[in-house]
Point group: C2
Chain length 221, copies 2
């Protein structure tokens, strides 16, 4: 194998191990053994576990960012629901590693790790803005989107801790939460009310947003 | 000064400095100077900056936990609004230190620091359960409360970054968000619907929950 090919293979092996168990429980020996090479050879490609962890995290971050990409056609609620499915696929595949990272894993506090996590959040934020067709969001919209992203993270973390609620329910719930948080902001701000109306105007009767509104009205009466 | 008295004074001085600037920018020399003692004497009481930081964080965590305490009387929405005011007081007082900690500060990744942050979240969670008068919460309620706590954290962090939205508006918004997230869950789950009705039954016409429902109904029509 060439140098770059071997590096890429090692990153793949490491990502799989770092995903299935908490990364601080994974040793270089184990990675070497899973890759079928010697421990010194691992160090030939990566100076230490942290650099291999960061490379694996970079690959996971790139992968996650591609899952946010969704064609800009059809109702917004349905688009967001498809993205939520792919998000939970990712969380499911990388469960223990995702938990360890987000709860403060071995490399948290490293500025490289923080920058990677922030990069994924920023990618999610920009995707949502693009779908809303907005270039310069008002502060209240930015707040709704960014705080909803953190809600999605914490919902996924709580799901991983025992999986007591079916993930399909949580995927739909997060779509509904997005509409609900926007509506709360719109209830007190005219600019947000205009945005909310635009968001909902092309929603079909059987889409997730319309379904939620119907149920909420029934609940309130 | 006695040993314990001197330690407490140092913790107070350190907390003030760690609150006003990012903790990694605060030096032991500066803490010594602000406390009016020599650098070696600081090391006599604390082995290093991390241990002093953890002690300051412990004091801040204890302080924050006391602000969650609210008498269990009167409408729920009004109680939560009072707690949100005290929460934003705290965030305001400790702005840069709060941001650095929550975004991955110098001591994040230390298990002591993570445990302190988790302890505060748990205190908030238990307070809310007590106010809802619930001992054994269903999984869906636990999810709503815990994910709302992370929403409150991210809302406070976004507020600190430029303060572009008045904090009183965000205090009310978080109260409304709590009701909205509960309502989304209640729209799809009977047990949560019962809980929501119980939550809202004693709300006065001029309380934050009733005000929100009125505005949302107006928005939907």
């Amino acid at each position: 194998m060439g140098v770059e090919e071997r590096r890429q293979q090692l990153i793949g092996v490491a990502l799989e191990l770092f995903s299935r168990r908490s990364p601080d429980e994974v040793s270089i020996d184990e990675i070497a053994s899973a890759a079928g090479i010697s421990r010194p050879l691992v160090y030939h490609y990566f100076p230490g576990k942290l650099s291999l962890y960061e490379a694996a995290l970079q690959r996971a971050a790139d992968d996650l960012a591609t899952r946010f990409v969704e064609p800009r056609e059809g109702p917004l609620g349905t688009r967001l629901l498809r993205v939520m499915r792919r998000y939970f696929d990712f969380v499911d595949e990388h469960g223990p590693g995702f938990s360890a990272l987000m709860r403060g894993g071995p490399a948290v506090g490293s500025s490289a790790t923080n920058a990677l996590v922030d990069g994924v959040r920023q990618a999610a934020y920009l995707q949502i803005l693009a779908h809303l067709d907005i270039d310069r969001p008002p502060a209240r919209l930015e707040l709704v989107i960014r705080s909803w992203i953190s809600l999605a993270e914490s919902t996924a973390l709580i799901w991983l801790d025992g999986r007591r609620i079916p993930r399909t329910e949580l995927e739909a719930q997060l779509v509904h939460d997005f509409a609900a948080l926007t509506a709360v902001s719109a209830a007190y701000d005219d600019e947000m009310a205009v945005l909310l109306r635009r968001m909902l105007k092309d929603e079909p009767a059987d889409g997730p947003f319309t379904d939620l509104v119907g149920r909420l009205v029934a609940l309130a009466s």
